[in-house]
Amino acid sequence: MKLLIKTNIYTTITTVLLFAMGIFIVYEVILLKLDREVDEQLLFAKEKIVKGLNDGISSNDFLSNIGQKIYVKKVDKQTVFDNKFIEYIEKNPNDASSNGSITQRELLFQTDVKGTIYEVTVCSSLTEGKKIGDYIAVVVLIFLVISVIILFLLNRLISAFIWSPFYDTLTKIKTWNIKKNEVLNFKDTDIDEFYLLNDTVKDLTHQIQSDYHNLKEFTENVSHEAQTPLSIISTKLELLMQEENYNEKQHKLLVQIYNATQRMHKLNEGLILLTRIENKQFVETNTIELTQAIDEKLEVLEDFIEAKQIVIEKQYNKKITKDVNPILLTILLNNLFINAIKYNLEESGKIKITVDDNSFSVENTSYVDKINRQFLFDRFNKNSISGSLGLGLSLIKKIVDFYNWQVTYSHKDGIHKFKIYM
């Protein structure tokens, strides 16, 4: 959930609750005040009535002058000594304006006027007051709804405005690619926290980028600079090996040195190749028909296939034509097939090559168990197979990535299968 929506929800809920409470209190207070007011009026009427009774005014002469109804009757015995307020709802189907019912509040008292006990009921309608209270409540409610909506929108607007540098930063970090040498430029902001965040991210990415480039450059330089001394070492070694009369120990040492140097050579070549693919140095493309390229590759490797008596099964369901760099395609096929040959069984080995609509796969029998998938395409992951440089699969992956293809590996019933989706 977005931060904006979340904060907005909380503020909205709080506002609604507060307003609801406010309306309730206001409504109650108004009603209370209304009752008091009516009570006061009733008491005032009582005073006048008592005075009037004392002055001898006939009970029938009391007229309602302030919307009050007064009923006076004589009683034999005084049973009520204080003021009694009663509230009740009177059904009045004729009065449409009040939904047929009127809330009445009456004061009942008994008074002794010169020996005669009068029971007086003063009645006053509450409906008008209640109506006012209702109106007020409705107005407040409308006001509440409007303010909540306005608040909600305003909040959204302000938040969106305030948080926009943050989202900008987020988007830029998300699309940032360490391999592209781009500097992050964030939106200007006067919010301290965002400013600090941008500044920190900027410093951080700058640091990462420079570390990455240093490291990359270092690797490149090492492999490039190593080329010349390595060539010198192996050439000199070849010359040294021309000499004769070495004793057995010297001979053995020489062989070991020479083998290690050759290994180093191949390793270095592989690393340089990886770097060159990374640096996009194989951009020129030719239109190549895949099955033809595969057949040519198999012909080159024929010697090795025959030497191991491997049976090749080809299943070309489709001809795929691709615009690729011929060198990269050669390296890709070479590595796939060399692996399939090299790790194949010594006897009755099989390789099956399938070409489909937009993929091709190489399946082979092998003396090697299932390869741990997690590190399959990592550099120098040799899966404890000796004699391998551990760069082959890494090269495959690199080329596949370069063309945005996919490579999958599966292992079933002793058959290793590499499938490339083009």
Partner: protein, 243 residues
């Protein structure tokens, strides 16, 4: 050393009794010395130059059979030398040497008439084999053969005659034999042999096994023709032809 180096071998084919003269144009001292030593041992007469200027001087003074030219020279591109040679001494063989990745240099060199190219680093035995092959190709019309005691390798007809009988060799066996024979008395490492036959297309370990089995067959066929000691296996290192 970005552009690699050009070594120019110049073969002078007119005078066959004299050792063939080769001009090596290479500014890297260590490599130049190795090449000169190795080729001298193989019976060539070697001169060297380290700059374009001195190379031009030598080319004007002496007639060479072949030149080995490094592309990246301190005073310019070796391509200029190749052009000069092709204009002035078209009969001369030229091999250019480029850095591993300088594909453009290679293509340009071949376009203007270089006979062959080598990428650095290379095996000295490979260089020797390439020179032999360039010299042979330049000497068109004449019969080319490597002749040893009881063994004749006809490189025009691609035939091998052992004690008067033609040996039936596979293509790879023949290639291996020619490669070894063009570097007589030298130790040819198994890497050099594998590289020469498959380039860097094949995986090392796999190709060594294959080289080994090919050599075994080859030796067997030579043995059957009563030529016992032509190929010697130097344990762990490689092979030697006619020790």
């Amino acid at each position: 050393m970005k552009n690699g180096f050009y070594l120019i071998f110049i073969l002078h084919l007119a005078n066959k009794t004299e050792p063939m003269r080769i001009l090596i144009i290479e500014d890297e001292k260590s490599l130049r010395e190795d090449v000169v030593d190795y080729l001298t041992e193989n019976g060539y007469k070697c001169d060297f130059a380290t700059t374009i200027k001195s190379a031009m001087q030598k080319l004007n003074d002496v007639v060479y059979s072949c030149a080995l030219v490094d592309v990246g020279l301190p005073d310019g591109s070796g391509i200029d030398i190749v052009e000069h040679i092709k204009k002035n001494s078209p009969e001369m063989g030229v091999i250019i040497v480029t850095a591993k990745n300088a594909l453009e240099d290679k293509l340009q060199g071949l376009k203007i008439g270089a006979d062959d190219y080598l990428t650095k680093p290379f095996h000295l035995s490979e260089l020797s084999a390439r020179i032999y092959s360039v010299l042979r190709r330049r000497n068109f019309g004449g019969k080319n053969s490597l002749v040893f005691d009881g063994l004749e390798i006809d490189t025009t007809e691609k035939k091998v005659i052992a004690n008067g009988n033609q040996l039936q060799l596979t293509k790879k066996e023949y290639e291996i034999l020619v490669y070894l024979a063009s570097n007589p008395t030298h130790l040819i490492t198994k890497e050099a042999l594998a590289d020469a036959i498959w380039g860097d297309k094949a995986d090392m370990a796999t190709s060594f096994d294959f080289v080994y089995s090919q050599i075994k067959n080859l030796k067997k066929k030579l043995n059957e023709a009563d030529l016992k000691n032509y190929i010697k296996v130097v344990y762990g290192m490689g092979y030697k032809f006619k020790d």
